[in-house]
């Protein structure tokens, strides 16, 4: 007989406590006396220590001692080893990343797992884990299907380790804490792994697991269509241009490989590409030039409705953002302090420049959050959608870059940031303009409480935005570029080896616990009877 936790046997010392306690609190013998008149006058006291030397052994004390001994034995986990081997708890983890589609690797993994179970894992408790896309215990092998996103292995392995003694991982990348069955990436795959698109430039980085060769690439942005070829050996490609009018930008590789999910990417603009800006008052040429320099701005003069209204020494027209430029009578001495505000983005680097052109706002116009202060005097404020700026227009527009930066910020704020080209990556949240909904609803994507969108499948998703219906493309863009392409490695563990396997145990803890309970009840009944 052995014990799983022999340390628990120290609890047998509690028997000593039981005996001492029992001696101290021996059940009082009943004695009938003619009268208690005198006994009541004798104070009660605890038995002296010497009285403990004359224990009065009772049957219930024996039962209690046996109950404790049985309970301690149950805690210690008594068992006897049998001639059979103990079944192992083994978790087989499948990397269900989208890249496992390439070359049908997940199917290969399932076949290997099946072969293992029917041969070397016979008699063991085997469970399956995969990410769908969150880590889950799978009911069957067939449930291990790839998802259209990159799966982080660590949470998946952690879930498996919590329920198993041994973890087998089938993946195309190594990971710690698991026996790896390496299934290499196919050696023919070419795909886009990084993609950025702005109004001025498009950039892609590709991975090529196949032979070095020229790779045809195509870019579509509105009316613009560009075909090019990436020279052999190069893994990046970019193209500058004016994409500000394009509602979306798509880049695709004209290759035929085993994994087409990463052959095309697309960026989309969730808000209108064009922003109307009206200018009233003094039509200063430098102001008009700076506004025209902002991509996607449609400029017009007069007080008509616009997204942004600028009033130069005059009230601006109706708009989502109204900017009034007040001519500065005199410049302010001192250093300029630029507030942390979207309207002031990148202008903190131009503080010295702004200090040279700003004047103090009249008291009536100082209401709101200060945007620029020079020498402690307020030069610009924002109050809701009204902006007041006291500035020398002539000097500011004299080729100083802070003027177009300010207007670019103003246009961006008015657009709520939705007019930029946005890349949606599977599994990653993408910020949406306010009040945007999924239309039609899709099981492959979730609209999060913070208003962002998370897509779990590569493909198209419909969105209803305040500026109309848009279609957004979810891209794989799995930056993991396997370094194991073409390398195959069998499982680095032999489950059939008897080394380290433990014999099967027959436990007696339950019997001991039952006996303890029974003895305890008996002791209790005995005590009731005695009382």
């Amino acid at each position: 007989m052995k014990f799983e936790t022999p340390g628990a046997l120290w609890a047998l010392l509690s028997l000593l406590l039981l005996v001492l306690f029992s001696l101290w609190r021996q059940a009082a013998a009943k004695v009938t006396v003619p009268s208690l008149a005198l006994w009541k006058q004798i104070p009660e006291r605890n038995p002296p220590v010497r009285a403990l030397r004359r224990p009065k052994w009772r049957f219930e004390l024996l039962l209690q001692a046996l109950a404790i001994a049985a309970a301690v034995a149950a805690l210690a986990g008594p068992y006897r080893e049998t001639s059979e081997l103990k079944p192992r708890r083994i978790a087989i983890v499948f990397d269900t990343s989208a890249r496992m589609r390439a070359g049908d690797r997940l199917r290969q993994a399932q076949d290997q797992a099946l072969a293992l179970i029917s041969s070397k894992l016979r008699g063991d408790e085997v469970s399956f884990y995969g990410a769908l896309p969150s880590p889950e215990r799978l009911k069957t092998l067939a449930q291990a299907q790839p998802v259209d996103l990159h799966v982080e292995l660590e949470p998946l392995l952690a879930a498996a380790r919590a329920a198993a003694d041994q973890v087998i991982l089938f993946s195309d990348r190594p990971a710690d804490g698991a026996h790896l069955g390496l299934l290499p990436a196919p050696s023919d795959n070419v795909g886009i792994v990084e993609f950025t698109a702005t109004d001025e430039e498009v950039f892609v980085r590709i991975a090529n697991h196949g032979p070095t060769r020229p790779i045809p690439i195509e870019l579509s942005a509105g009316d613009v269509r560009i075909r090019d070829t990436i020279p052999p050996g190069r893994l990046v490609w970019s193209r500058r241009g004016d994409y500000s009018k394009a509602p979306s930008v798509r880049v695709s590789l004209a290759v035929s490989d085993s994994f087409p999910l990463d052959d095309a990417v697309e960026a989309v603009r969730l808000a209108e590409a064009t922003t109307t800006v009206s200018v009233t008052g003094l039509l200063h040429p430098q102001v008009l030039r700076a506004l025209r320099a902002v991509p996607g701005v449609a400029l017009r003069t007069g007080e008509g409705s616009a997204r942004v209204a600028v009033g130069v020494d005059a009230p601006p027209g109706p708009a989502d953002l109204r900017i009034r430029l007040i001519p500065a009578a005199s410049r302010l001495p001192g250093e300029a302090v630029i507030a942390n505000h979207p309207l002031m983005l990148d202008l903190d680097k131009r503080a010295k420049e702004l200090a040279q052109v700003c004047g103090e706002l009249p008291p009536a116009d100082r209401i709101g959050q200060p945007l620029i202060t020079v020498g402690g005097k307020v030069a610009a404020v924002v109050n809701g959608k009204d902006v007041r700026l006291c500035v020398d227009i002539g000097d500011w527009g004299n080729s100083l870059p802070s003027l177009p930066i300010f207007f670019a910020n103003a246009v961006d704020v008015a657009r709520s940031g939705g007019s930029r080209l946005t890349v949606l990556r599977t599994g990653q949240p993408m910020a949406l303009p306010p009040e945007t909904t999924l239309d039609p609803p899709s099981e492959g994507a979730l609209l999060m409480p913070d208003g962002s969108l998370v897509a779990h499948r590569v493909g198209e998703y419909g969105l209803r935005t305040p500026s109309g219906h848009r279609t957004v493309h979810a891209n794989l863009l799995d930056e993991r570029e396997s370094d194991t392409a073409g390398i195959r490695r069998d499982l680095d563990w032999d489950p059939g080896s008897p080394t380290g396997r433990e014999p099967k145990r027959r436990g007696y803890g339950g019997i001991a616990a039952g006996a303890a309970l029974m003895l305890l009840v008996l002791a209790w009944l005995m005590q009731l009877r005695t009382e």
Binding site: Q26, K30, V31, P34, L36, I42, P47, A51
Partner: protein, 249 residues
Amino acid sequence: MLFDDEFLRKLEGLRLAVRRSVSGRREGERLTRKRGGSAEFTSHRSYTQGDEFRAIDWNLYGRLGQLYVKEFTREEALPVRLVMDTSASMAPKFEFARRLGAALALVANQESPSIALAEMESLRIGAPFAIPTVPRGLAIVVSDLWDEGLRSQLLRLRSETAVIHVLSPEELEPPVTGKVRLIDSETGEGVVRYVGDQERAEYRRLLAEYCAAWKKWCFDREMNYLRCTSSTALEEIVQVYLREAGVLE
């Protein structure tokens, strides 16, 4: 048969002792101060208004020229009432108390049959115990005196009283040790005490004080008091202790 012949013969020589003159309804061997119709002359005293003319000693008047009346005492039977404590606390010593009571009854009946022995034999433990009012004569109370209410009942007795305090050896020296739950035989109340040498000594001291208090209380009220143990031979109690206590003579 409660007693053997030898013991009965010893009882024949005994009689109940009384400190003062008592009177009863029946004539007996006891002299009372009751005047009139007497057989035995006691003394002379001066005549006072209301005295019977028959009692005037005319011879003495002739010699002394003053009126004196003769006083006589009358022999009457002594009324004896035997009160036996039958409460539950008497259980361990009840047999002893019953035999003692029977012996006293036999002694009393020698003068005048006033106590029915059959009553003594029919006494059972556990019966409600209360001391009846005894207007005159002699009352003998046999009890363990654990009931504090006895004092007030004894005070209501207007007769001469003898209190025989009976204790069992277990009461004198409780045979308990260790932790015990002590149960009152009459109320059923219980207290838990650890009984060691210290507690036993304390019990003995309290018991001695308790008995002394009863003795003093009885003496202060001109009652005879005798404490006896139920393990003592009845003959010794009757022949020695009751005589010393002034209950028998």
